[in-house]
């Protein structure tokens, strides 16, 4: 089950093409290095899944306007949601979705790291443990018996943890789900050998750029925008609701100040703990903020 198609030899020949995918291409993506040096083999892309909803890898298939160009710029070596064809590792670029929740997955992520020149996590599960990291705050045995009549059939860890808790990660892309535009940016940056241009400022900056009304100021709606990383395009405030933090903490978030403001807007402690504990509950800054409220620090 889930055996990784690993080359027998050491990870030396990354980029080797195969019969299934080795079609010569005359119109590579305009931004790819392949255009400059058409003789070079295309990078091998692999997409891996751990505990998750499939939404972040689906974001790749949802790039309808870019998908065929992307597929032309790389060799899709492992992407079971899209293709039966499998090319053995090592891989030039691995995209990893999902969090680590089983002993088997701990083993598998180490194998994937060994086989991957560059490893990028996509989404809140892989980057912060996801919504399933709520178990980190609870008694997992109780959860098992709430959902399953025979908990002894299950093999799970007591925690849901991000990929970086287990192996080195080269880049973490945020979001629940990731933003399609940011995903294409990460792929384009990788193909061109540059750093991705992904802002780490807060959603507030995006709201100002869009000319949105500030929902907490104008309507008294609690909003995590001041402590949440941009990337979604200030989606929720654009629809008249407060940001619920699905891109995780922004750079140096002032959660203490936000906690005070949430209380002033009428949220009780339990409500405040809940808003920090959703899809990025395990992100260190959000975790600390929720635990501070529980400890009565506000």
């Amino acid at each position: 089950m889930g055996d990784i198609p690993i080359a027998a030899s050491s990870p030396a020949s990354a980029g080797e093409d195969t019969a299934e995918h080795g079609h010569p291409h005359t119109h590579p993506h305009a931004e790819t290095p392949a255009e400059a040096t058409p003789a070079e083999p295309k990078p091998k892309l692999a997409v891996w899944k751990f505990a998750s909803c499939d939404g972040c890898q689906l974001s790749l298939l949802n790039c309808e306007d870019e998908l065929l160009q992307i597929a032309d710029s790389v060799t899709i070596a492992y992407f079971p949601e899209a293709t039966r064809a499998i090319v053995a590792g090592p891989y030039d670029l691995s995209l990893v979705e999902g969090s680590i929740t089983t002993p088997e997955d701990v083993r598998r992520i180490h194998e994937i790291r060994e086989q991957s020149a560059t490893l990028v996590t996509i989404g809140a599960c892989a980057t912060a443990g996801g919504i399933q990291a709520l178990r980190n705050f609870a008694d997992v045995d109780a959860f098992r018996s709430i959902v399953y009549a025979h908990p002894e059939y299950l093999s799970t860890l007591d925690t849901s943890t991000p990929i970086a808790s287990h192996v080195d990660v080269d880049y973490e892309l945020r979001g629940c789900p990731v933003d399609k535009g940011q995903l294409v940016e990460v792929l384009a940056a990788y193909l061109n050998g540059r750093k991705p241009r992904i802002p780490t400022y807060s959603v507030c900056v995006e709201c100002k750029l869009k000319g949105n009304l500030c929902v907490p100021v104008a309507t008294g709606t609690p909003c995590l925008g001041p402590v949440t990383q941009a990337g979604c395009g200030a989606l929720c405030p654009s629809y008249g609701r407060g940001c619920y933090g699905c891109f995780g903490p922004s750079d140096s978030p002032n959660t203490a100040a936000l906690t005070r403001q949430l209380a002033e807007l009428g949220m009780d402690d339990r409500d405040i703990v809940r808003v920090y504990r959703t899809f990025n509950a395990g992100a260190p800054e959000f975790r600390a903020a929720s635990e501070a409220v529980e400890a009565g620090a506000r």
Binding site: G2, C53, D54, N62, E64, T83, A85, G130, Y148, P177
Partner: protein, 435 residues
């Protein structure tokens, strides 16, 4: 991959079933030329949604349960909002219902286009993937991507984004889209309707393995149209019909050792939810255009060949596109986006027709609106027994095929269900034992 067993039997092993949403495994065992055991193994790691929903607020399930599945989040949002509104004794407005239906059409369009062309069609046309198909038949794949994009764009305008929409809440929406916003979608949806009619014709020309199954079909029914975002009652080919509120009295979930997704029984037996069930129980509710397309494609008013589910999905694609266009064309600005919902202690069920079939949620909340119990029953977990039944039939019917062909055929029998294993709990691992 084939292994000989010491007792003369045989085990066939395939590392991973591709082009499904999630990961699972399969085990088939032959003794004396007969199939003696079939198991669909699901080892997708459990995420314990029903556990951590306890203690959350009644307003949270639309955002939280959407994360069970990136392909059909709206199905979860619809079932959970309906359940909470039922518990709190709130009826929304007809316009809110219509906007929910429009958003749901978007999900059916993107999900069906994804499954028909990118996951399922490669089986019939002999390709590893739609990306390989694109090299040989670029027009078909471009058309598929165009339809899929129209669905995603619709979800983006109504829901804020295509995966995990942000605009849905208990009581309705945070903001209604405007006529001007909706009209930006019109041209692409109209083009996609033409494309979908062509798609019905195209997929009807595929070679379908002969296999008819005696399923008990279960689906929602609604007097005003084909069931998507809601139904007033549940109907079954066994003749049973009852209100949605009674679902938990007819469906019993149980835990088997070989699957991290709970199995289910309907009135004590195996049952089937999904496009074939919806179609066969609601043909009369399809639009004349969709009915006509279905009949021209050679479908009867019922369909019992699981391989032909690809045609039924294409027919549903036609219906969803027509429905979306009709809602957009009749929309006016100024409808209130939501009704207020105050918590009230109680228990309630919400159900909808996800692209893969009936989904239902049951919640118990207290007087402060805190969830004390949650039960979520997605389509793929309900279908596990039917999938195993089809695998058994396929393994018996095509036992003469070589291992490679049989493996392919069994994978196809699973893909007929468009299984969403992330929903049900991701590993399909095929094992065939022969002796």
């Amino acid at each position: 991959m084939t292994h000989q067993l010491k007792d003369g039997g045989q085990v066939m092993h395939v590392g991973m079933l591709a082009r499904v949403e999630g990961e699972g495994g399969m085990h088939i065992e032959y003794r004396d030329g007969k199939v003696v055991d079939v198991k669909l193994n699901i080892f997708e790691p459990p995420r314990f949604y029903e556990g951590f929903l306890r203690g959350r607020k009644f307003t949270e399930p639309p955002d939280i349960t959407a994360r069970i599945c990136g392909i059909c989040p709206v199905a979860y949002q619809s079932a959970s909002t309906e359940a909470m509104e039922t518990i709190c004794g709130v009826t929304t407005t007809p316009e809110i219902q219509l906007m929910r239906r429009l958003l749901y059409c978007g999900e059916w369009i993107e999900s069906h286009a994804l499954h028909i062309f990118m996951l399922h069609a490669p089986d019939f046309l002999g390709y590893e993937s739609a990306l390989d198909m694109a090299k040989v038949m670029p027009d078909v794949v471009t058309m598929a991507l165009r339809i899929k994009k129209a669905g995603n764009d619709l979800m983006t305008v109504v829901g804020g984004r295509a995966i995990h929409p942000v605009n849905v809440k208990v009581g309705g929406f945070y903001r209604m889209p405007t006529v001007a916003e909706l009209l930006t979608l019109r041209a692409d949806l109209a083009q996609s309707l033409e494309d979908a009619l062509a798609a019905v014709e195209l997929v009807s020309t595929f070679d379908f393995p002969a296999m008819e199954q005696e399923y008990t079909y279960v689906a929602l029914r609604h007097p005003e149209g084909y069931p998507l975002e809601r139904g007033t009652e549940v109907v079954a080919t066994s003749g049973v019909r009852f209100p949605v509120a009674e679902l938990a009295q007819h469906i019993e979930e149980f835990h088997v050792e070989h699957s991290n997704a709970l199995h289910a029984r309907f009135d004590g037996g195996t049952y089937f939810v999904g496009p074939l069930a919806r179609y066969s129980l609601n043909f009369d509710q399809l639009s004349p255009l969709a009915q006509d397309a279905a009949l021209k494609a050679g479908l009867g008013e019922t369909c019992r060949n699981p391989f032909k589910s690809i045609i039924v999905r294409a027919v549903e694609l036609v219906y969803a596109l027509e429905e979306a266009l009709s809602i957009i064309d009749h929309w006016r600005d100024g409808y209130p986006p939501s009704v207020p919902v105050a918590p009230r202690a109680g228990e309630g069920i919400g159900a909808s027709e996800a692209p893969r079939g009936l989904i239902w949620h049951r919640y118990v909340i207290d007087e402060e609106g805190i969830i004390t119990d949650a039960q979520i029953v997605p389509p793929t977990s309900q279908n596990q027994a039917s999938i195993e039944m089809d695998l058994r039939t396929a393994a018996e019917q095509w036992a003469d095929l070589d291992d490679h062909m049989l493996t392919h055929r069994c994978e196809e029998a699973i893909r007929n269900y468009d299984p969403c294993i992330s929903c049900a709990t991701h590993f399909l691992d095929l094992r065939v034992k022969r002796s």
